[in-house]
């Protein structure tokens, strides 16, 4: 008889402290021992996680009104420009924004982390002044406790898969995928592989708008499909796309986050980015989902792209599994090439374990998607010229 479980049944077990919760890596051994059918009955929730760099990260802040009030038009936080084209004292600071005084050595990602750590941040704001907001300038300090709202809103995180990067040219390339050495000197990749959330629920059956997640050490939510969401990408037999496909927009209370799980990143000769820790609990609803959850690195493939070709569509040099990438070397046209990760497997594992504890011991129940994500979505390119 086929096992089927509902979110309600699993949540009831979580509330009673009786749910069997394992990390995606732990599931592998259970499936080898019990098989798919018995493992489906036995396991209730599988935790997944990732801790990788993602430029599409930022935070909304509301500073509160000064007296007399100001309609902030130009805003700087520690000399990092924040977007003020919102209501009078609302702002959005992007992680990738560099500072005016220290360049990429200090940017929006650093400001966000300093706020999370409770440190003082220097706020300067300017306005032309209006009858209702007469002040034209303010120079003060804020902390996360002195302001009203502070919430992380990341338009794109948690890529379902991502192509690895290499360089066939004769010069070193400095990219958001790290340093790429000339003459196929190395291959860099960015994913937690078999721990990565969207690789484990490839058709997003359990992940949609409203899904409750671990976000940088706090409770967060999936807010929307991420930007550049492409559910229509070609998939392998196991349902996993071979390149970047689905993404998530996520939201959470910055005031409750921990810099253990969110960190600034500086990529040489590229810019500022941010490592963001995300964990997603996936309920074992049936054996089809458990099969997806049990897919291992050896069965997850990605393309290796040539970043020396400065086009949006970069040529594929080879295809390889994450087991090969994680081994430290891959073979490209007979050449043994060193591989390096950019996503921290160490931190990803830690997040998967913390989330496992939240679900198993602290009653972190699972929120069914309030609305599913669209299927068959393809990416549009930006064309030059008139429509």
């Amino acid at each position: 008889m086929t096992t089927k479980k509902s979110f309600d049944e699993i949540n009831e077990k979580i509330r009673k402290g009786k749910a069997v919760v394992v990390t995606a890596e732990e599931l592998t051994g259970i499936v080898e021992e019990k098989g798919i059918s018995d493992a489906t009955k036995y396991v209730d929730v599988v935790t997944t996680a990732t801790f990788g760099p993602m430029c599409s990260t930022g935070a909304f802040l509301n500073f509160g009104h000064s007296d007399p009030p100001i309609r902030m038009e130009k805003i700087e936080l520690d000399n990092v420009s924040a977007y003020g084209g919102l209501a009078a004292v609302d702002a959005y600071i992007g992680a990738a924004e560099p500072s005016t005084d220290r360049g990429i050595e200090y940017g929006g990602a650093h400001v966000i982390c300093n706020l999370i750590d409770g440190k003082k941040v220097h706020l300067k704001a300017y306005s032309k002044g209006t009858d209702c907001y007469p002040r034209k300038e303010i120079d003060t300090y804020i902390t996360k406790d002195s302001i009203n709202e502070a919430y992380l809103y990341n338009p794109r995180n948690c890529y379902q898969n991502y192509s690895a990067a290499a360089n066939t040219s004769d010069r070193t390339l400095y990219t958001y995928m790290g340093v790429l050495q000339p003459g196929l000197g190395n291959v860099n990749y960015s994913t937690s592989g078999e721990l990565s959330p969207l690789l484990k629920d490839p058709y997003l059956r359990t992940i949609g708008i409203g899904t409750r997640i671990f976000l940088a050490g706090a409770e967060g939510y999936v807010a929307w499909q991420g930007t550049q969401f492409a559910s229509g990408k070609p998939r392998g037999e196991n349902g996993i796309p071979l390149s970047g496909a689905c993404t998530l927009a996520v939201i959470g209370n910055l005031k409750e986050m921990s810099t253990e799980y969110i960190q600034p990143a500086i990529f040489e000769k590229y810019g500022v980015s941010m490592f963001v820790g995300i964990g997603i609990p996936i309920p074992v609803l049936d054996s089809d989902l458990l099969f997806n959850l049990s897919v291992q690195n050896k069965d997850i493939y990605t393309n290796i792209l040539d970043y020396s070709v400065q086009r949006s569509n970069k040529p594929v040099l080879a295809q390889c599994s994450y087991e090969e990438l994680r081994s430290g070397f891959v073979s490209i046209e007979g050449k043994k090439v060193k591989t390096s990760p950019l996503t921290s497997l160490y931190k990803s594992r830690e997040i998967a374990r913390v989330l496992k504890n939240w679900v198993a011991e602290k009653g972190f129940t699972l929120q069914p998607p309030i609305a599913p994500f669209p299927k068959g979505v393809t990416l549009k390119s930006l064309e030059q010229g008139r429509l």
Binding site: F51, G52, P53, E105, G178, V179, L180, Q181, G185, N186, N188, Q263, P264, A265, I266, F267, E268, S273, F275, R326, G328, K338, S340, P341, L342, T343, S344, L345, Y346, K347
Partner: protein, 72 residues
């Protein structure tokens, strides 16, 4: 090593194959016989966890950087 997030970007920048990361523990180690002290790893570290003092002194071969340079 304080600030290390165990991502692996330093190993990508090392042109001599001197830096290696143990995938299970995330520990970075350096083979002294291969390291030329070019500092490419320092510049590539996105967390700015590596410092010049850690790199310019010779390593104990295959010893954890964090152990070799703790407290310096």
């Amino acid at each position: 090593m304080q600030g290390c997030i165990h991502c692996g970007a330093c190993t990508a920048a090392c042109t001599k194959g001197a830096l290696k990361m143990e995938p299970e523990s995330g520990t970075v180690s350096c083979d002294e016989s291969l390291c030329t002290h070019c500092n490419a790893c320092i510049r590539a570290c996105p967390a700015r966890a590596l410092t010049y003092n850690q790199i310019r002194r010779p390593y104990v071969s295959e010893k954890r950087l964090s152990e070799a340079y703790e407290g310096r």
